[in-house]
Amino acid sequence: MLDLSPDEWIAIRLSLKIALVATVVALPFGIAVAWLLARKNFWGKALLDGLVHMPLVLPPVVTGYLLLISFGRRGPIGAFLADHFGIVFSFRWTGAALSCGVMGFPLLVRPIRLAIEAIDRKLEDAAATLGADRLWIFLTVTLPLAMPGLIAGMVLCFAKALGEFGATITFVSNIPGETQTISAAIYTLTQVPGGDAAAGRLVLVAIAISLAALVAAEWLARRAGTRFHGE
């Protein structure tokens, strides 16, 4: 079987942590943006839509660079967060989670938006006549009915975060134990003589994690689906 070295385990654990934190923290923002895009008409909607999809079409290095100059220690946002809240992104795993979250964001938003658009708004009217205000309608009708989209979005975002390379390495570099994810570790191993075996092991791990995420998503989506059809 795979005989993983401690360094490899560290990269794997770090990758999972970064991808998980990126997905969970991005989720509320993703739901809010998806809801705005699905339901509201406002000035600058096209701009917001474009901005959300930017990381999908930009070269990841460019996204990473933009993160570096805005969220870096001397960047306007990075300096503000560091001075007022003690949140530091540059060369930390939190920065890796930020870049992974940004890169995964369009993949998170899209399925949630489609799910919200597909909801029969007459059900929300029915909830209103039963005494639910807008917040309760959202929590008890809109969100549960959008659950399959939420699951799909989270899995796509998680998978993207797990494999993210370009933006992360540009923004927070490739520091073992801090920002070196599986992808970065594989890249490093392919650059040194005799690293092939270790790279191969990490490749297998990456495949296994991705497959597990897909299977889990399928299972969750099916469960959410049967809830509607009352099996």
Binding site: A128, A132, R227
Partner: protein
């Protein structure tokens, strides 16, 4: 005596509605051809659609008054609404659907009242099911129960039998008559079937092309259908 007073105007594209009527409890039939504005009217009473002008009062509460800029939102009107297609929440069990209005309004659990309505509508054996597994008739009975259990001051029924075949309609009508006689909630019942209304209504408002053409007792139905035949 519970009383609903409606005097509203609304323009929707080419269609304009200007309707004025009052009811005094019982079951008021809102009768008219398709496109006469029946659903538009009940949506305004429910608070789902704002009138352009006018006012709506229920007993001594003003629900809408354009002059005084009053527009009580739907969720605070306490008006139950049974839709043509039921509109049960597909992600909730029948029991949770029935309980939804009570939860949203923050009312105390009332097991006796729930049991009474569940028995009245004969839906006790459906409580654990999801709406997707119900027949059309069962679905509408649950929709009646859901609207009643939020303890409405008024119940709006918009073509509640229209999606059902003749056999299902015959199955449901007795339940509706029981509701009228035992639930003690005034109703506004929308339909374009005079036969159905004769079995259930106590007063009639005839709507034609967005205007109230006649009001009165069940004889209005006979006159209107005779006119259609002529």
């Amino acid at each position: 005596m519970s009383m609903l007073a409606v005097d509203v105007e609304k323009r929707l594209g080419d269609f304009s509605l200007a309707a004025r009527f009052e009811t005094a409890g019982g079951v008021t039939a809102l009768f008219g051809a398709s496109g006469a504005g029946k659903t538009t009217l009940v949506n305004m009473i429910a608070g789902l659609l704002p009138p352009d002008r006018g006012c709506i009062r229920l007993d001594d509460t003003v629900l809408f008054d354009s002059a005084a800029r009053i527009d009580v939102p739907a969720h605070r009107r306490r008006i139950g609404y049974v839709f043509q297609e039921g509109r049960l929440f597909p992600h909730l069990s029948v029991a949770a659907n029935l309980d939804y209005g009570r939860r949203m309004r923050g009312l105390a659990r009332d097991g006796a009242e729930t049991a009474r309505i569940v028995n009245l509508l004969d839906i006790g054996h459906l409580l654990d099911r999801r709406p997707g597994k119900l027949s059309g008739g069962e679905r509408q009975r649950v929709a009646f129960g859901r609207a009643l259990l939020m303890r409405p001051r008024l119940l709006l029924l918009d073509e509640p039998l229209a999606s059902l075949d003749a056999a299902r309609k015959r199955e449901i009508l007795p339940y509706l008559q029981k509701l009228r006689d035992e639930a003690h909630v005034p109703m506004v019942y929308v339909s374009h079937h005079a036969g159905e209304l004769k079995r259930i209504a106590t007063a009639v408002v005839l709507l034609d092309a967005g205007r109230v053409a006649a009001t009165g007792g069940l004889e209005v139905l006979d006159a209107a259908t005779a006119e259609l035949m002529a």
